[in-house]
Amino acid sequence: QRDPAYEAARENGSIGEKPDGYLGIVGGGDGQLQRMVSDINLKRKQVYTDRASAEGSTVEQFAFTAGCNTISRTKPGEKYQAPDGSWKTRDSSPPVRDARCP
């Protein structure tokens, strides 16, 4: 039950999943899109922080692990960032992910 604006942004490829577990803006995007992405990332960070301290891992590690999953779950047409930093459009083939992803 994603916020419609967020859903639309994913579908039109203006935002994409990053390996570090957070959302990124693919290109440009107005202030409101940036504010929306920041808001979602804040909420992801809070979840990561809560879970990391419970799991005794660093927030970064937890976020990274989540990133592996969010990228693998992207639907064809959605955007994701490869380890080298370039933005890719997911197609039917498996996404290019960080080597350390399980």
Partner: protein, 42 residues
């Protein structure tokens, strides 16, 4: 007899401690759970 002469420069002992954090595999299950529980922000 053996004299231990104080070396002219301090003896430097470098100690590198590197705590390996190979936790990604361990956390994978937890990460999937988190994503499912908070579908609205993932």
């Amino acid at each position: 007899c053996v004299t231990v002469s104080a070396p002219d420069k301090p003896i430097v002992i470098n100690l590198n401690i590197n705590i390996k954090q190979e936790v990604v595999y361990r956390l994978d299950g937890k990460a999937k759970a988190v994503i499912d529980e908070n579908a609205e922000i993932f």
